[in-house]
């Protein structure tokens, strides 16, 4: 097993475990949450949080679980993982001084870069699908029924957002030599996006509007992806990948 494959498997496994560890208690907490929704609503300090609770309550278990898995866990830890996996993709090689031997082999730069992009993209997206696939089984423990198809569609939608963040970070990695700086900058950007999501007047400018609770509830209800969101996100990823390839072709080790 090559170093790259092993690294991919380890990263994917670690991310899957983290998502699952967050998912299990969240699902098992559903009955308590449902029974104490009114009391919880009173505890919420601001309007956006109260609205979020309303959405959980009105959509039942599926809405609550989507909120926990996709809006809470994937939009925060998922983006952190995407940024972490992408920031070191090329900048990490330059930082360690291994860029030259990586490029000195008789393999095209395009191939090397796309292999690396793909392995990281799989390590970001696969755990989202794998952990989401366990939701129907976990929901059975709290006597709820959640459709596997709906969860996989939500996972596909979430993955497009994560891939956009991943590809953007990957692009900056092909230009830079400081993976830590690139990672911090992207994390700060995502925190800023999350912060403005919670501000009533600025929320429409947040990228998290593309993957929030109402979006996932809509996917569950319609059992289809919202192409008006998914296609632009995939397009953004494609643009960043093409830009990465072009930048990498001229990169000096």
């Amino acid at each position: 097993m090559g170093g790259g494959t092993r690294s991919l498997l380890l990263r994917a496994l670690a991310f899957t475990l983290v998502l699952e560890l967050l998912l299990v208690p969240a699902v098992l907490f559903w009955p308590n949450f449902r029974d104490n929704l009114d009391a919880l609503r009173g505890l919420m300090p601001f309007q956006a949080a109260r609205e979020m609770l309303e959405q959980f309550g009105s959509a039942g278990a599926a809405g609550y679980i989507c909120g926990q898995q996709f809006f809470k866990a994937c939009n925060t830890l998922g983006i952190a993982a995407a940024v972490l996996f992408a920031a070191g993709a090329v900048a990490g090689e330059a930082h360690r001084g291994t860029l030259e031997i990586w490029l000195a082999r008789p393999l095209t730069r395009r191939r090397l870069l796309l292999e690396r992009w793909l392995s990281g993209a799989l390590a970001v997206a696969l755990p989202v699908f794998l952990s989401s696939a366990t939701i129907p089984w976990l929901a059975g423990f709290v006597e709820e029924r959640v459709a596997l198809e709906a969860m996989l569609l939500c996972a596909a939608h979430e993955s497009t957002l994560l891939l956009a963040f991943y590809s953007a970070t990957f692009f900056f990695s092909t230009l830079g030599s400081n993976p830590l700086g690139i990672g911090f900058a992207m994390l700060l950007f995502s925190i800023f996006q999350f912060a403005i999501y919670l501000i009533e007047k600025a929320t429409h400018y947040s990228l998290f509007r593309l993957a929030d609770i109402p979006t996932f509830i809509e996917i569950c209800d319609s059992r289809s992806l919202d192409v008006s969101i998914v296609l632009p996100l995939l397009g953004a990823s494609a643009v960043f990948v093409v830009a990465s390839v072009l930048a990498f072709e001229r990169r000096v080790p």
Partner: protein, 322 residues
Amino acid sequence: MLSRSMDAAASTPKQGMIRVRGLTRRFGSVTALSPIEFDVGPGGVTALLGPNGSGKSTLLRCMVGLVRPDSGSASIDGVALSGDGTAVRKRCCFAPGEISLYKEMRGREHLEWLLRGRERESRARAVQLADAMGLPLSARVRAYSHGMKRQLLFAAVMAPRVAVRILDEPSEGLDPSKRGAILDIVESDARSGTTILLSSHHLGEVDRVSSRMLFLHQGRLVRSEDSAGVRAQAARTLRLDFGSQLELPANASRVCSTLLRLGAKSALTRGQRAIVQLEQADPRPFLGALAAEASLPAPQGIEYGQLSLSELYHDVYGVEAV
């Protein structure tokens, strides 16, 4: 020598040849390579010499496509450099000078990683070579010393069956015995017909293995010498030891002008010695005139027919070589 290279431009490059034509590269306002032209091979060891920052590594990186030249062309083993240089790198092996390996990999695993894209048999040869050098291939690379990492990279570069190898400082950081072993392998490989271009700061090793030397200075190829040329130059080189009398600048200047009057092509002083270049290989007419010259002190010693690479280096760069 350079004109000979220009003549060769008209011919098509042969198998195992390295051909560089008008290669230039700038980094911002810094000119790393001015137009450089030379042919190397087929076969033999050619050394690329020059002080730090002379452009050796940039030249080698440009030749294998790791750095895109601004203009000019290069071909290796009959394949022209284009795009990202993958076609050229398939025809040659390149060992970078700056060595950083993946510390988390084991030695054997790293060899396989380095040989990705090469023929399968090269892995067995690399392992054999690494074993012969005593490398612990089951240990992680983080446990390797600098010299062991250098040897691991060397084993990976020498294993594939290619017509050309380009080695940037292959023995840097090795102790003398390990350096000797590596040079034995380089020599043996060159004897089997491989063209080897190596850059080095160690004049001793260059002296030992190379049949030709390319001198780079401030991004320009300032001189190209083969071993026959060095021998011919040595046959015209005379060293006269005048003792402490030469240490006074006025005396040194007077001695030089007298030596030139006696028929020397050039004369300079270094320490207590005057170094004279003669027009012809036979020193007897000049020595006869020197013996008859009453204005010069009698030399305390005379050396003839010796020219070390460090003197050649001094001659080219005007500084003492390492």
